[in-house]
Amino acid sequence: MKNYTFLIKPFFFIFSLIFSTWLVLAIEKIRPSDFGQIKTLFEKEIKQPKISKTDKQYLKDLFSQYKLGSIDSATFDKRLESFVISIQSPLIIKK
């Protein structure tokens, strides 16, 4: 058995790595860290898509029409999708 004592250290190290990972992730779940504004360093900063007043009005109208039953859910879905595509750009992932 003494011949295999050299295995203790690597296995202990691996165990410590796994345990500390679990611990850190568990703490993150309970109490998320405040890492501040997140953006990637080597990628251009991507601005949040701006919604104009006209866009806002369009959305309002769309929802009202759906609520009043003047359009069915398939039409609503189709119009909403094309609206999103029209203004869509990669979003900045916020914590």
Binding site: F6, L17, T21, E28, S33, G36
Partner: protein, 609 residues
Amino acid sequence: MSKQFYFDKFEDRKPYSAITDNKYRTWMFQFFGIVTIVLGIAYLNWRWRYSLNPDALWFAIPLVLAETLSYVSTILVVFNFWSYKDPKKSPPVHYLSEIEDLQGRRDRPVKIDIFIATYNEDVELVRQSIIDAKKIIYPFSDVQIKIYVLDDGRRDGRDPAKENMKKVAEEEGVNYKIREHNKGYKAGNLKNALEHTTGDLFAILDADTRAFPSFLVNTTGYFRRDKVAWVQTPQWFYDTSEAEPLSSVINRNLKIENKNLIRLVDSVFGRIKINEDIFGNDPRLFYDVILRKRNFYNAAFCCGAGSIHRRDAIMNLAVKDFADGIKRLEEDLLNKHAASNIIEDQKKDLVLKQEIIPFKFHASEDIYTSIMLHADKENRWESIQHPDIECKMLSTQDLDSWVKQHQRYAAGSLDIAFKDNPVFKNGLTLGQKISYFTTIWSYFAPFWILIFLLSPVAFFFSLALPVQAYSFDFFKYFLPFQIMNTITIMLGCWGISTKRGDQYYISSFWFMLMALLTVLRGKEVKFNVTPKGKHFAKNTQHILPHIIIISLTLIGMLYNAILLYLGKHPTASGFAANAFWCIFNIVALSVMIRAAYWKPLETDSVDGN
């Protein structure tokens, strides 16, 4: 009655057996090694491109840079440990024709010289080495084996204040050689010996190197291959500190005398053993893995003591250097006195001024000479790292000596890197270049080690994290890479505990940094003779940086714990991650602090101090 030494009690220790090569383990190592390299690329790609915290780039960039540099070491380790390739053992040589082409000369039995280099070591300690050298056996009675004590301390009786080394040599019936200066340190001493001896093969032993009877029988056979320039045997330190129960260390240091208290301490801590090889002197990992695996690339270098050399190879190199030196001086002369008629007269002087130097005059003469021999395109000399232990030696017994010895190794290697870098050396193969580069690269480790040591401290006091998030993303890249890396190292060093080696790799950062600064400042790297004994003073200066880093770490942890308690800590998980990191740092750093204050269980009154 012969003089008593502290190491007398270790005389019965038996050397370890060399690791048996196993092709399946080698394949596993190669597989895991490649996986580690690939995972490392993925991890570092993610780290550089996506993980850096833009709000703390001052912290994030140095850390990721340190990780990248450390990753280079990982690649080099995989390359270096790729495979064992132990050369075939052959029976000992008898005639000269077995080791070289005689080219018409008459054949005769080989001549072997054994050099025992000494400077200021206790003469009775050297006597033991002489006695053991005299016990070396050889199966052929007509093979001449001569032993020479090469005394650079000139202890031939002229100075009554010094011990008389010459007398000891005469008493033991061996040859004694001195020179009137110390030019070239050990290399100069060997040069002097080679000028006065004629052995076809010569063995180098240090003052404390005690060869086993089989030393020549097991090594000279390699020289049947006519391109083998030298054979290095592992250096085995048989006097490393023994493990002792933690309870006895506590009782001794706290001066506990109460029997009940002693019993209590024994029952709690008695099973825990500490301080085994406290200075991390056991070089098994180096000789049995690092150097031995370099046989694969014909890149194992000479380490001095315990090596045996072909005179022809070393003299061939020296003569070439001599010719090159004269050529250079001639060119200088021509440039200076282009139109002068005094050139012819001065040319003659040049030959007289130039010396034939077999071993490079350098603090790391052994590795430097190895590089030059490997780079000899004409001869393509080969080196061999013999796997089995053929001699025993003494290790440094106090931190001050240990630091000086390792600082010399570091500064010597770095000096070669800056002045005559093997990477750019014509004649070396790619494998040899990478192998030598690995040795040099390892001495740059303090740069990234220092960052790894200071990173948790930086976090504790700035509360800034170098990464954007401790998300699953981080761990999905980090964890597989680290686990695979650990398994790869484990397979590469199979059978050898790397615990102490890892601790010293980290805790050596400071003196290695100092060695680097010495070389960068252009200071001459001096050949400090390693003391063979115990010198317990001057140790604290070496551990001040360690104490400072540990103190800052502990204060930082306390400060963060208070913030957590008050509910003002912005990242509790960051604290947990750094706390784990700190435990490893503190354990590694503390070994040197323990070593600084370590004393053997029994106080030895004899050892030449």
